[in-house]
């Protein structure tokens, strides 16, 4: 068995213990495991700004490089990583309120473009664009909760640990988010059937 395969079998917490001991292979493994996930999280949270998301991923892992002792092994690494990422997004929201307010216009123009085409793919893109716009209207907490739940696939328990709130609060937020999106995206009710169809064709 190759060395990298051995690291792949280790848990996040075990890898972080090795990272604290300056094991570069462990750091590489943990990066491979979470870089894409965190990049997409930042991408969704930061108005689909690819460059900014890349920078945020680098900053996030630089925190691990410089101060791996910040991570407490008693806590699951995944929730700790997302809580750090979420805090970075919060700070970014505070810093760039102007850009946040300008973002809906960008999304709106993207939605308008996609709506003009008229085929099934455009319907899908239109749905995603409207979803992003609807999420944009939500506050940061509900938005991050929704992204972590439906786009990053985190469990209710993990989200509650990331946001440091009860699981009931997370569930409640998700319910009211669905209710809100139902009003905004009601005309895309057949999108699920469409998605299944697309997946079948592909």
């Amino acid at each position: 068995m190759a060395v990298k395969d051995i690291y792949k079998e280790l848990s996040d917490e075990e890898l972080m213990d090795l990272v604290k001991k300056s094991d570069s292979n462990a750091f590489s493994a943990i990066y491979d495991r979470y870089a894409k996930m965190t990049l997409n999280f930042f991408y969704k949270m930061l108005w689909k700004d690819r460059e900014k998301s890349e920078d945020f991923v680098q900053d996030l892992f630089m925190k691990i490089v410089n101060k791996p002792e910040l991570y407490n092994s008693s806590r699951p690494f995944k929730t700790w990583l997302f809580s750090v990422a979420n805090n970075m997004c919060k700070n970014e929201y505070r810093k760039a309120e102007v850009r946040v307010s300008a973002a809906p216009e960008i999304f709106a123009s993207a939605i308008t473009k996609s709506s003009n085409t008229g085929d099934k793919k455009i319907d899908k893109d239109a749905f995603i664009g409207e979803l992003d716009e609807a999420l944009k209207e939500m506050d940061q907490v509900k938005r991050s909760t929704f992204i972590m739940r439906f786009k990053q696939g985190l469990s209710i328990k993990e989200i509650s640990e990331v946001l440091e709130c009860s699981q009931g609060t997370v569930k409640s937020r998700i319910f009211y988010t669905i209710k809100h999106l139902n009003k905004k995206l009601g005309h895309f009710k057949n999108i699920a059937c469409l998605t299944l169809l697309l997946n079948t064709l592909i």
Partner: protein, 339 residues
């Protein structure tokens, strides 16, 4: 109605995922209708949720750039090198040696040095500022009524030096004082040059003796002694002058003086005249020059024998030497007896 308490709003997501409104149990419907208006809204929300769950698969997931990982790995390697350097310094540095955490606290050099320093400081403090010794000195400095007048000068000196004086030392000082008094008051019957030198030395030490406690020196004794010494010195000078004359005559007229007769005049006086009857000889006699101190009965008799044995021309010479009777009384008496 008991089932109402088994559902919470948080559980709506699970119900939306799992059951349509028609599939809900009556109590579940009652619970759901608290949060939605009707069955149509419930089903609409259900479809929306299904769509939302399907969105990630529709979206194009992005992947991080390779350069990002390279930059992070380079930073990690640099940090590792830095950490290793720090660890090495921590392990081999002075502070690491001083406070070696691998050893128990008693064996750490830092603790041992600190303990040694504490001991040294304590010893120095006790030796220098001991309150017990100070009390003892103060008590000993208290003067008795008898000593208060006689020891005044010494007491002041003690206050300045703060020397602790024991009783034995005081006794020794008293003995020395008594000896000094004995030396000073000793009757001068036999005085030699050596005695004069010693007595002179004693007098030179007189100022120190003056400082001794409880001793009242009689200045009159010193005056008498001074006069005697002066007188002795004068006599010695006179004798030396005479000897010089005698030696001059000897070198001029005689090679050897043989004493044949001695007449002591006025022996009880301070000054008297010693009359020698001497003869010139050219024989092989002892070449010891004649002077007052070497005139002995042994030499006298030997000279007589020599005279008898040899046939040499002699010329009688009479030499008068003023000499102090008290100083050479024993010698002169021997000479006189021999004669």
């Amino acid at each position: 109605m008991d089932n109402e308490f088994t559902y919470d709003p948080e559980d709506l997501e699970r119900l939306l995922k799992e059951k349509s409104f028609s599939e809900l149990l009556p109590e579940e419907k009652a619970f759901v209708l608290q949060f939605v208006e009707n069955d149509l809204e419930y089903d609409s929300m259900r479809e929306t949720l299904e769509s939302l769950i399907a969105v990630p698969s529709m979206e194009e997931a992005i992947s991080p750039k390779a350069a990002t990982k390279e930059a992070l790995m380079a930073a990690f390697s640099a940090k590792t090198v830095e950490n290793q350097k720090e660890e090495r310094e921590e392990k081999t540095g002075f502070w690491a040696w001083l406070w070696n955490t691998n050893k128990t606290i008693l064996y750490r050099p830092g603790f041992q040095l600190a303990s040694l320093a504490l001991v040294l400081v304590s010893v120095f403090y006790i030796a220098t500022f001991s309150p017990i010794d100070r009390t003892a000195q103060v008590i000993k400095k208290e003067p008795s009524p008898k000593e208060s007048t006689a020891n005044e000068s010494k007491k002041e000196e003690r206050k300045i030096t703060l020397e602790s004086v024991t009783e034995e030392e005081e006794e020794e000082e008293e003995e020395e004082e008594v000896k000094a008094i004995d030396v000073i008051t000793e009757p001068i019957t036999l005085v030699s040059e050596k005695d004069i030198e010693e007595s002179t030395l004693d007098l030179n030490e007189a100022p120190e003796l003056d400082q001794l406690e409880g001793i009242l020196l009689d200045d009159s004794k010193f005056e008498i002694e001074d006069k005697k010494i002066e007188r002795e010195a004068d006599e010695i000078e006179q004798i030396e002058e005479n000897n010089t004359k005698f030696n001059y005559q000897e070198t001029e007229s005689y090679t050897e003086i043989i004493i044949t007769d001695v007449i002591l005049e006025n022996i009880n006086a301070d000054k008297t005249t010693l009359i020698y009857d001497a003869r010139e000889t050219t024989g092989n006699m002892a070449s010891t020059p004649l002077n007052k101190t070497e005139v002995s009965s042994t030499m006298f008799s030997k000279s007589r024998n020599s005279l008898a044995a040899s046939d040499v021309s002699l010329s009688d010479i009479s030499i008068n030497i003023p000499i102090k009777a008290s100083k050479y009384s024993s010698l002169l008496s021997k000479l006189y007896t021999a004669q």
